[in-house]
């Protein structure tokens, strides 16, 4: 198996592990952390996607031309997924922060943060 497929598989496994944690953990704080595991896996997936074609920084100097004349265009990393995931990292961080703020509020009601204690037992 080529290394890149192996890495892709590991990343998808990490995303799955995050989702499983979200389902199975009872503690709200751990649930949010599990969500972050999924988020990190997504970021890693995009970075891997950018590195498929190569690892070199895709910047050509206008004055000197390509530093190495033998450098093939195929060695350059793909900047699109990297640029895209930057926004997603910021959004993920801010959502994480907001969720943690609300969790500190909820901790006043149930310090053990058991998710089931917040769901009211009433009928649908």
């Amino acid at each position: 198996m080529p290394a890149i497929r192996l890495l892709e598989l590991l990343i998808l496994l990490a995303a799955l592990a995050g989702f499983t944690g979200l389902l199975l953990r009872r503690n709200l704080f751990l649930k949010v952390l599990a969500m972050d595991v999924t988020g990190s896996a997504v970021v890693a997936l995009f970075v891997l996607l950018g590195a498929r074609s190569g690892l070199r920084t895709p910047i050509l100097s206008r004055l000197t031309g390509p530093a190495d004349p033998g450098l093939a265009i195929a060695d350059l990393a793909d900047p699109i997924p990297q640029a895209v995931i930057l926004t997603a990292i910021v959004i993920g961080l801010s959502i994480q922060a907001l969720l943690l703020v609300v969790i500190t509020q909820l901790a006043r009601i149930d310090p053990s943060l058991d998710a089931s204690s917040f769901d009211p037992p009433d009928r649908p």
Partner: protein, 495 residues
């Protein structure tokens, strides 16, 4: 396809950015709040109306091939008009409730993000705008300032962010296979895991079937104005991309049709049983969103008619004497609440000449006969559930304060309804709608007797583990459906 510097496109970009700029200005200079919000909201509604009437549409690609692509078309027109009108009504009601500047800032950001999500046609811009929508909706729910509101908001953001994580994995897979983030690129790929992941994200955002189980409690517990925003427009931010994908590929229609019908049935059944009037409206939203995503040809009209009616209904909720449906028929409601309540209920029930009638007719003509019959059956259920709300006696004394926002929303129900159904009102359609209405009332009466005799209870479906499990279930179901060869069978016309 035109780039940034073609005539007219600069104005469109300025129009798109205006709500965000206004949001900053409102935070800095609260005195400017009134003109800024009014300009942004009216500009949104006007552009929507113009796109609907003009119909030509324009594609805009900012910053070339990998940039942001926007589609100003008729389909987006329905949603923009809805967004402008609902935000206007919420602004009117919010002023009376004394919203502070944070509230206005969030309203403007929500307006801008919704506009972006209605227009964009690439997966990444859609992701960003949907997340901005989710964050501002989350903060608006927190305005309830109770522990219950905290929990509901937390649940909402947790589920929506998880779904959007799955959506991003889908987007990454699309890029790795086709080298593009455009909707068209996703639709051109053979159906597979990328499509399933993107659909799970969008279905969760639009509150459909098991992915939408977060919706009833969230919409019921939020403050009345916020519920109106959530049920009126926020859910359609996920529905419009689904409609666009359906336009591109019949495989998506085949995958979504069973889910949409199941959502409509689930929502109607639960709404017929619940005891709480706001919860009833919220379950009905889940049902109606299913109908919205059934067909790309009628989805815009369905979303507009449902959004206007539902936002109006939720806006009256603040002035109800009680939310409990037990004894609803014994508590008189003031006439100025009854008027928007009845108009909204009748419109969703599909009574001419309200817009709900013409939207439903469009939907029935767009569907194959068996599906159209299924929709007709479901509308009997929705008549029955709104009949529960219309049972309160009228109080004709002019005591209660007029709910201008709700009245403002019921006006376009009538105007656009008359405009659209003027040519298409046939004896056949009229007969059908009267029959559905009568059957619905009969169903309601017989169910009411049953409700008195024994308390009907259905399993509680909206605890946090159920919501997350729903995501997994629908995702796995979509993958299995794609892999098992269900698709070619359906796209050949078996359904």
């Amino acid at each position: 396809m035109s780039d940034l510097w073609s005539p007219g496109s600069q104005q469109l970009v300025i129009w798109l950015l205006a709500p965000y700029i206004a949001a900053f200005l409102v935070a800095l200079l609260p005195a400017l709040c009134l003109p800024l919000i009014l300009v942004c909201v009216l500009a949104t509604a006007l552009l929507g109306a113009w796109l609907l009437l003009d119909g030509a549409g324009q594609q805009l690609l900012l910053l070339q091939q990998y940039g942001v692509s926007l589609s100003f078309d008729r389909l987006a027109g329905w949603f923009l008009l809805l967004n402008g009108l609902v935000c206007l009504a919420v602004w009117i009601e919010g002023r009376r409730q004394g919203w502070d500047r944070t509230g206005w800032l969030l309203l403007l950001v929500l307006l801008g993000a919704l506009n972006t999500s209605f227009l964009t046609t690439d997966l990444v811009s859609l992701y960003v705008s949907l997340e901005v929508v989710a964050i501002s909706a989350f903060l608006l729910i927190l305005k309830g300032r109770t522990a219950r509101a905290d929990w509901i908001a937390l649940r909402y953001l947790l589920v929506s962010n998880t779904a959007m994580g799955l959506y991003l994995i889908g987007a990454a897979l699309v890029y790795s296979q086709s080298g593009s983030f455009q909707f068209a690129a996703l639709a051109a790929l053979p159906p597979g895991a990328p499509l399933a992941l993107v659909l799970v994200g969008l279905l969760t955002k639009s509150g459909v079937f098991l992915n939408g189980l977060w919706l009833p409690r969230t919409h019921a517990e939020a403050p009345a104005e916020v519920s109106a925003l959530l049920s009126g427009v926020v859910v359609s931010a996920g529905a419009l991309p689904l409609l666009r994908l359906e336009q591109f590929s019949t495989a998506v229609i085949a995958l979504l049709t069973p889910i949409a019908l199941a959502s409509a049935a689930l929502g109607v059944v639960y709404a017929l049983v619940v005891d709480d009037a706001k919860r009833l409206l919220a379950w009905s939203t889940l049902a109606q969103m299913g109908l919205v995503i059934l067909s790309p040809a009628a989805g815009g009209a369905m979303a507009l008619s449902h959004g206007l009616a539902k936002a109006g209904l939720f806006l009256t909720a603040r002035h109800w004497p009680s939310r409990s449906l037990q004894g609803w028929s014994g508590r008189p409601l003031a006439w100025n609440l009854q008027l928007p309540l009845w108009l909204g209920a009748l419109s969703i029930a599909g009574v001419p000449p309200l817009i709900g009638f013409s939207a439903k007719k469009q939907l029935e003509t767009a569907l194959t006969p068996p599906l159209a019959w299924a929709v007709l059956l479901l509308s009997i259920g929705s008549v029955a559930l709104y009949a529960r709300l219309c049972r309160a006696p009228w109080d004709l004394s002019p005591r209660a304060p007029l709910s201008w926002g709700a009245l403002l929303l019921s006006l376009p129900l009538l105007i656009t309804g008359v405009a659209f159904s003027a040519g298409g009102l046939t004896a056949d359609g009229l007969l059908k709608s009267v029959t559905v209405l009568l059957l619905g009332v009969v169903l309601d009466q017989s169910l009411e007797r049953l409700r008195w005799r024994e308390r009907i209870s259905l399993p509680q479906l909206d605890r946090l583990p159920d919501l997350l499990g729903g995501l997994g279930l629908i995702g796995a179901g979509l993958v299995v459906a794609i892999r098992s060869g269900f698709l070619p069978l359906v796209t050949e016309g078996a359904l």
